[in-house]
Symmetry: C2
Subunit: 649 residues, 2 copies
């Protein structure tokens, strides 16, 4: 269907025809609502596979959707088993030392048993390795610690932590089921880098307790309180722990550096923590250093995870705190886990459904909270080892869980003499990896505002509290977006020589303004947040350009063309703004012309009758056509203007 | 400076030259920061007049800026005085009846004395008339009433209300001084219509207490509790009050209707309230109806405003509630006042500085809180009467204040017999005017989502509380904007026949897709909120279009052109997204081409080295040039593609 002559406005010979700007064909409200809902909640169309299938197959596909293990399980091969065994053992060698580096140590081992099993059944990523979130415990300590101190009421605190983990899991699963997983996208890159960096810094400094062998330590989660606690107890520092801690820290940093330089030897840094635990235990055992005051783990209870469902204190007076903590930690850990899953899926080129992952994380944490586990998610460093070791499916997590099970059932006595200082240095080495200063420098170079957001989060977490840092960073990110919509860019367009292309004179200094015209471009949807600003800005452009032309002794313009290609939507406030601007212009004997309005804008202008007010003849498909048509009118109907004109297109 | 040959990419004869897309000349960070700050806080350039002036003149201009009366005062003429006297008397005839319709009555008169005087000195609008905010008292009652019940502790409640007014004034003045007046723009049209409508409905229904002569009434501010209070006391209804109230309500509605039909007779509806008071007082006086149970105002204290600064309970346990109430009522009343000022300024074509008005409103309320006044702002109905009566300057407010002063000093005994029923019917008539169902219907037609916001606010205020209604409406408005950025529109572009113009195939059904190309347009800045969604959406467009072409038996495309004219900005997440999309496309042997990236986008892509990754040769000024250049490459370097081609441009 070609555009017939009725679609052209100026069929006169010698003038380039201007096309008619159409109002899009009307769509029933229900259809556009359905499309909007589909784009918002189902952008990746996950239910496509269910179309046109018999009921039994839909049931089977549905089960496979919830439990991907039913999909890749039947296709499993011996090749895969070999690869997954190796990678499973590799990540287990990380899981055990990092597990006992938790507080209390046994929880870390529990958390590497049940949650990975759940993830292997329900998760979509083939490379993700599950573990406890280092900064998660900081978050919990910070938020729960306002109500219950961990050392004064250890049992209460523990049960509250399980309760918070439960709510985190419920929240994550709900977001996934309601297809609201996209809310974790509302954390900008700067927010994540700054927040994780700040939390990692605090956790690092808190490990000084273990490295220096201190008995009493602050509960504060700020850098200042931690440093004060360290430096007011210099007489309590234990040199034995300190020396051991520093040696192993040095060792671990060297192995990391080595593996970074030679990626083939990734297993060197992966073996670092377990090696440190073994060597450290041997040193303490042989020198009986635990009798000399070096702190060791001591007795670790043998046996698998005890159930904790009955101990979840739903009737606690701190229920609301636990819910809040669960929501915050749930979002942070889900964001991290989804980022990990996505980056490996992108690299290996397989699809991953973010909402399905959220459900998996949620169920993992719900199951974990009922089996004495802390908050868990996918960890980048562990998944990287998993990937490098050649994992093929999520079975690597099952292998890791089996290794941890064997440890829990039989090997915990071997961990008796593990020095706390070694575990602290393992934690420090891990946390230092989370302080991504490369990313911060990149932000400074590319996007200074996001760098400010990053620093705000870092300083807020480091010197205030985790909630303050997170809230500040999220608030500033969202404020920036709101400000961006509230103060959209406007620019003057000029003609690129020897063409009908009009671009911003700021970006293209060669573009020259057209005599008789002021061409403005608005770079955002026109809505209630920016209608008032745009009205004043457009009028100010007019005043300023008129003054410039007067000062240069040139004649002023008669037409103001507003290029609306970037105005994707308009609301009633925006249309009122256009009406007011038109009236203001008419008082100054200027004509308002619109160029390239989009579909939604034309629809709204049509429904509010603004097209009738402005006149369909003053709306053009491109700026070039608007200039051409207005020049045509100037030449044919304004003899005075002809006398003024010097060189027109 | 014309674009030389170095700016063209394809100087080969026979092929239209493609222009080079430039990275804008670099600006120092401080300069771009200064420009951003200027656009955000000083869009209307109010300090322009101060440039290049001697110090003494700057001082004088500064005083005139804060006190506009020093500017229009010296230029005052007798003509103005005549006009302002008439308009001042007109609005005084509204101020007195509306003033005594307040609770308690004397406060309304106080509030029409001091605040208008302050506004006349500091305000910029020539037409704005100041008065107490009808829905403001509802807001205060709702928010303060959670803590202190007005009838149980009237003095405490009153002092808290003054304190809240003080904080409202401080908040307004601060916003104005910090140039943050634009925050009131964050209330969408639908929010304001729904909120005011809901509040007006509740106030209307609350007036039934006065109309039916009830002694006891609910303190609830919801429609349900008010109606229950009315209908459980049917035996207490006083028929005399009811009849009187209904008669005068009918009279007032008729005068309003008459004036609406014949705008020349605006004074008819303006005289309505005062006439009702006079007639109602006479009727009660002559029939001694007050002894028959008809409630009257009774004794009104003579004399001007007593100072209340010393009674502001800064040490109250309810300080935080007063601050919160002050902030909320401050924003709502400032939004209303600024809208009034702007609409008349736009009509009469004089400039008005929103932040200066905020300072004036703030000082007005601070002064008012120290002189026993309630919250005041510019009222639309009263300003309309002011305007119709021909006011020339803000002196009309001074005239009104003088008339109220005379009333306070001498005429309060005359108001003794004013029936409460008459005052209630005056309030009802005023409130009915605030329920703007025309605006709601217009919203339904033009912008259904804003209509939903409107209804949410209305139902929230009417059936919940004012805070619930306001918070819901603001939250939904902002959520809509966030969702809009998080789910931007993307569309497939096609070629308008016989042109090099490419537009959305949804808006222009005549536009046809170009064989060998998939042309997509993204309609929003690419940032962290939508990068993930856009990546999935672009890939889904590719899959869907490939499937369509396969099903139709046509050859697939090799180039994916992304038109970025509407992408006004991009951040690090957006650039990562483009890199990932490029890699995904390369795996499918597709080429990513960018068309028309704006200045900011080019800057960020340049700083993050993405231009090097993509290749400068794959960035074009327009979609047409991209298509032309890619076709050229297809024909010259892909003989297989030549065999496939049927008709190229």
């Amino acid at each position: 269907m070609s555009m017939g002559n009725g679609d052209y406005k100026y069929p006169a010979a010698g003038v380039e025809c201007a096309h008619r700007v159409a109002v899009p064909p009307p769509q029933p409200f229900t259809k556009s609502l359905k499309t909007s809902l589909k784009e918002t909640f189902f952008p990746d169309d996950p239910l496509q596979q269910f179309k046109n299938q018999p009921a039994s197959k839909i049931f089977r596909l549905g089960l496979q959707y919830l439990f991907p293990i039913l999909e890749w399980g039947p296709r499993y091969s011996f090749q895969f088993l070999k690869a997954d065994l190796i990678s499973g053992i590799s990540i287990a060698s990380l899981a055990i030392p990092y597990g006992i580096a938790n507080q209390p140590p046994i929880l870390g081992l529990y958390s590497s048993f049940v949650p990975p099993l759940v993830y292997a059944m329900m998760g979509s990523s083939r490379d993700l390795a599950v573990g406890t979130v280092g900064v998660g415990s900081l978050l919990m300590a910070s938020m729960l610690g306002n109500e219950v101190k961990a050392n004064e009421h250890p049992q209460t605190y523990l049960h509250l932590a399980f309760l918070a983990t439960f709510f985190a899991g419920v929240f994550q699963a709900s977001l996934g089921l309601l297809r609201l997983g996209f809310v974790v996208d509302f954390l900008s890159h700067g927010t994540k880098v700054g927040f994780m960096g700040g939390a990692a810094t605090v956790v690092c400094l808190q490990q000084l307790k273990g490295v220096l062998g201190l008995d009493h330590f602050t509960h504060g989660t700020g850098i200042v309180s931690v440093m004060r606690s360290v430096f007011t107890q210099t007489h309590q520092w234990r040199w034995e722990s300190g020396v051991m801690g520093c040696c192993f820290l040095f060792f671990l940093m060297r192995t990391k550096y080595f593996s970074k330089r030679r990626p083939k030897f990734f297993w060197v840094s992966a073996m670092g923590p377990l090696t440190s635990v073994i060597i450290g235990s041997l040193v303490v055992y042989l020198t009986r250093a635990d009798r000399l005051g070096v702190q060791v783990i001591g007795n670790l209870k043998k046996g698998l995870n005890p159930p904790s469902l009955s101990e979840l204190p739903f009737g606690s007076p701190y229920l609301w705190t636990a819910i809040k903590t669960g929501i915050v930690t749930g979002i942070i850990s889900a964001a991290e886990g989804m980022a990990v899953g996505r980056s490996f899926a992108m690299f290996k080129n397989y699809p991953i459904d973010g909402n399905k992952e959220m459900i998996a994380f949620g169920m993992m944490n719900i199951a974990g909270s009922c089996t004495s586990c802390c908050l868990t998610t996918g960890l980048f460093s562990r998944s990287e080892v998993n990937f490098n070791a050649g994992c093929k499916t999520a079975l690597s997590n099952i292998v890791m869980a089996m290794a941890v099970m064997i440890t829990l059932l039989f090997l915990t006595p071997l961990l008796h003499y593990t020095p706390i200082a070694v575990l602290s240095s393992i934690s420090i080495a891990a946390m230092l990896g989370l302080i991504d200063y490369d990313a911060a420098i990149h932000l400074w170079k590319v996007d200074k505002f996001d760098f400010i957001v990053c620093m705000t989060a870092y300083i807020g977490v480091g010197f205030g509290s985790v909630e303050i840092g997170l809230v500040q960073a999220v608030a500033i990110s969202l404020l920036r977006m709101l400000l961006f919509v509230a103060r959209p860019r406007t620019s003057v367009l000029g003609n690129i020589p020897d063409s009908k292309i009009y671009r911003s004179v700021d970006q293209y200094p060669a573009a020259s303004t057209v005599p008789g015209f002021l061409i403005l471009e608005i770079d955002a949807p026109i809505c209630f947040t920016n209608a008032g600003y745009l009205r004043e800005r457009i009028l100010r452009w007019i005043y300023e350009e008129e003054d410039k032309l007067k000062a240069a002794g040139e004649s002023s313009f008669q037409y103001v063309i507003v290029a609306m290609g970037a105005v994707s939507n308009i609301d009633t406030s925006g249309i009122s703004m256009l009406e007011e601007v038109k009236k203001s212009m008419e008082r100054r004997e200027l004509k308002l012309v619109l160029a390239n309005p989009g579909g939604e804008v034309m629809k709204k202008m049509n429904k509010s009758k603004f097209i009738g007010v402005l006149g369909q003849e003053w709306i053009y498909l491109t700026v070039g056509e608007a200039v051409g048509a207005c020049n045509f009118m100037l030449h044919t109907s304004h003899p005075k203007a002809m006398a003024d004109d010097s060189s027109m297109v």
